[in-house]
Symmetry: C2
Subunit: 161 residues, 2 copies
DNA sequence: GAAATATAAATCGCGCGCGATTTAATCGCA
DNA sequence: TGCGATTAAATCGCGCGCGATTTATATTTC
């Protein structure tokens, strides 16, 4: 008996096909917790949290993004990003400066120190990959399904608003 | 062009098969955010957060669990659960009392009010299922893969400690 | 049975996420 | 040109997650 039951018992307030959905949602939730537990001690050595690491990688891909553009890539908003970016700035990993042409916007760039720490952390994903212990094809399928699911959920949330 | 790119550009510090893992981790992370955005406004009407909702369902399945037992089911620990349970107690949804036989342990039970709100919330999973917009078989497979992934990650984290 | 050890829960500090609001800059339009 | 509407970021409050520590109870060992 390696596995715990993942589905509620009979007589539960959760029944039918929705029951499965509850389990899927919980599976996403608990997998996220598990990822974080693996990531945290590794990223700690570089002085980064996982969301900070995501921001740094997004900046590596495209320098000088605005807060909103970063948010579109990471599905976050300024209420989360602004304090996070200030911490990255304090740590010396990024710079924040108002756009000259439109002073409402703030453009974020990696510093040399930021690029350096990203290079030092380039071994991190490999360690996570080993911890995941899954064949590449399965991971690829998983990524695709999760992206579809996310897009569906976001679309549903948006149309209710 | 419906989709954004999910893989880092060339020259990125994330390369090789690990790149895929990074993408999977981000997919789990962003799907979790998306789930939360759908869940939150729905659960708000019942005065519950998603972790609180999970705790309530776990208690429906087995009354009188200790804090540790709840933690094993939900992959959480007392540092997260204790304050959460106190909030549920304040809301009148659960009771917390020391085990007579072993006073180190605290046993949690649903109140009548707690069971009532769970029944009222029985429509919630169906709404999430609709928002997910995926066939049941695909969700079932996804759940299984994510559970395996989570177990692998937890095993890897445990053996490092 | 007293001291050392182990265990369960609680406490503390910090960084997210995010709904809601505020502040500041730009745009639209007469 | 002026002034209301829009947009971008920042701010605020609250509830997680979690590493680390503390407190209280139980168990082990001598």
């Amino acid at each position: 008996m390696r596995k715990k039951r993942e589905t509620p018992a009979e007589g539960s307030p959760v029944t039918g096909p929705a029951l499965l959905d509850h389990a899927v949602c919980f599976a996403v939730y608990s997998a996220g917790l598990a990822f974080n537990r693996v990531y945290k001690p590794i990223l700690d050595r570089f002085g980064l949290t996982y969301p900070q690491y995501l921001v740094m990688i997004a900046l590596w891909q495209a320098e000088g993004q605005t807060v909103s553009e970063l948010g579109e890539h990471l599905f976050l908003e300024s209420n989360t990003l602004t304090p996070l970016l200030k911490r990255l700035e304090t740590a010396g990993f990024v710079t924040r400066r108002r756009d000259k042409a439109d002073e409402r916007q703030v453009r974020i760039s990696l510093t040399a120190k930021g690029r350096k720490v990203l290079e030092e952390a380039s071994c991190v994903p490999q360690q996570i990959f080993e911890a995941a212990g899954m064949p590449v094809e399965k991971l690829a399928a998983l990524r695709g399904t999760l992206a579809d699911l996310r897009d569906n959920l976001r679309a549903a949330a948006a149309e209710k608003a």
